[in-house]
């Protein structure tokens, strides 16, 4: 039996003190924070976040193959084109659905997709929906050990170009695969980002420290994602809708005593935009928006309302 010995420091615990084991944010239980009041006395803000993504055929997979990306030997036409399907077909099903239920969708856009598909970009722009930057594309990951100059250049390129193409100020960020380097938040703050959606450790916004001041971490659930539930967990689309409805019920109930809550669903037109799944998106949106306690809102609006409560 191999018994490679452990260093002495394996039984040393230098961070074993009150609070977190890092200084990015303070330890805080949700129940201990002041109650949040959403506009019009609503209980649950409903944030529908749509990933508009470009998965390049010549994926490098550094430092890992992005979930949802190419898995077969080059050229993996199967996955490339099925992802592309979302941007050509599925998204237009989404838009109809959103309009039917008065959703205010937030679009997390890979800048490379904005560059490649001006028609789609202009469509979103003309609708006036909020866009946030979803990184340059799905194969330009941010990760520990990445060359700092390379990452800084990547973030600058992604934001400069999306800001120019969209005509929006682009205040929000979602990293591809929610993967970060140790300095991603610092670079985001330095490039004018005010909120980011990578950390899933809370159900409400909270301040996240950087040398450039605080970012706000916005809670975008991975557990309720269409990709996570339908493709990773292999549940049916029907089960996805059921889980969203159950979450909605629970959060409405919790908000009645604990203050405002957020129901966030991160969805992708290449997953739920399929003809055999779209009805489940409709079903979930119909259910959630039928509740009088629900406030459909852009991520930026939720952030503003939350900040207004922090006075």
């Amino acid at each position: 039996m191999s018994h490679s010995e452990l260093d002495k420091d394996y039984l040393q615990y230098p961070q074993r003190t009150y609070g977190m084991d890092h200084d990015r944010y303070d330890w805080s239980m949700l129940k201990d924070r002041p109650k949040i009041n959403w506009p019009q006395g609503k209980g649950v803000a409903f944030w529908v976040n749509v990933g508009l993504q470009f998965f390049p055929l010549n994926q490098k997979g550094i430092p890992f193959k992005v979930p949802g990306g190419m898995t077969k030997p080059y050229p993996d036409l199967r996955h490339y084109s099925l992802r592309d399907y979302g941007n050509r077909v599925g998204i237009y099903r989404f838009l109809k659905t959103f309009d039917k239920y008065d959703i205010k969708p937030t679009f997390a856009v890979n800048t490379k997709l904005a560059e490649r598909t001006p028609y789609l970009l202009n469509k979103i722009k003309d609708r006036g929906d909020e866009m946030i930057c979803h990184g340059y594309h799905m194969d330009t990951l941010h990760y520990g050990g990445q060359d700092p100059d390379e990452e800084a250049e990547l973030i600058k390129r992604a934001l400069d170009s999306l800001r120019e193409l969209s005509g929006q100020s682009i205040n929000g960020w979602l990293s591809p695969a929610k993967s970060e380097s140790a300095t991603t938040p610092d670079l985001l703050a330095a490039h004018g980002i005010s909120y980011f959606c990578d950390w899933v450790n809370d159900e409400m916004p909270y301040p996240f420290r950087t040398p450039q001041g605080h970012l706000t971490a916005m809670p975008l659930s991975t557990e309720l994602e269409d990709y996570h539930i339908i493709l990773h967990n292999q549940h049916s689309a029907e089960s996805w809708a059921e889980q969203v409805c159950d979450a909605c019920d629970f959060l409405i109930k919790e908000s009645s005593t604990e203050g405002g809550r957020i129901l966030s669903i991160n969805i992708h037109p290449w997953v739920l935009g399929q003809p055999h799944r779209i009805a489940q998106l409709e079903k979930a949106l119909e259910y959630v928006t039928s509740k009088s306690e629900v406030w459909p809102a852009y991520a930026g609006e939720i952030l503003t309302a939350w900040k207004d409560n922090q006075a």
Partner: protein
Amino acid sequence: MKEDPGYYDYWPYENRPKIEWPNGAQLAFWVAPNIEFYELNPPPNPHRSPWPQPHPAVPGYSIRDWGNRVGHIRQMELLEKYGIRGSISLSTALCDHHPEIIKMCHERQWEFFSHGIYNTRYTYGMTEAQEREMIKDSLESIHKHTGQKCAGYLAPALSHSELTLDLFAEVASEMFGEDGGFYSCDLFHDDQPTPIRLRQGKRFVSIPYSLEMNDTIAYLVQKVPPRQYGKALKENFDRLYQEGAESGTVMCIPTHNYQVSCAHRIKAYEEALEYITGHSNVWVATGREIASYYLEHYYEDALNDITAKSITA
């Protein structure tokens, strides 16, 4: 390496001496919330990597932190609603990091048992002295922060050595005598408590802590939908309850706040708790209470029966 851990002999489920739980209950029910701290940047262990990505592993770290920030209170209130005191499988560094959680559980007279210091420090590769030191540290933390004499152990992240159970029992005996260190949750071989053979011969039992009913196994490994998990809990209960009329059984639900307390899952869990606690012949207990009762009333009978059956085999 051994072919068999040597903790117990083969002992068929049929025709064992009859167990009856307090007040004639046929099933002992306990819930074991794992309250854990995972480090963002733990030291490397050559046998197991704590995170799938290079530091910082934001997805894995942050969802577990959610369990402490958001999920804990949800599960605690739910257990309280159904009259269940949790038996906490505790990453004992949490006493230092998040004493508020410890205080809330302590006020509700929940039990704390050791789950190591951090769930990102594995037993793999530790020398006997190192593992002993780690276990002792964890028991001291629980005692210092709650006054409890830790009775049970679940190895951190289920990482074991050949000596894990022995070392736990020995360290606890040195600290607390017979009042501490008498049950293990690390073995999954039975639906009833069973005596465990240790090198110093301490009276010690394994009590059922079901991996199959563990929310993380269900949700992360088997990836079942929430309602299917709720259904499995009820079916697991139904069968154990039925068999418990013949000889008392144990049902455990091991949970994790970052799984079971999610808004889209907690309903299924609540329905199962309501169902289980709605039956009359259920003894809602803690791990310590189940182990103590068994040691007091059935341990010797069990040993005799095991010996008799291994001789006549």
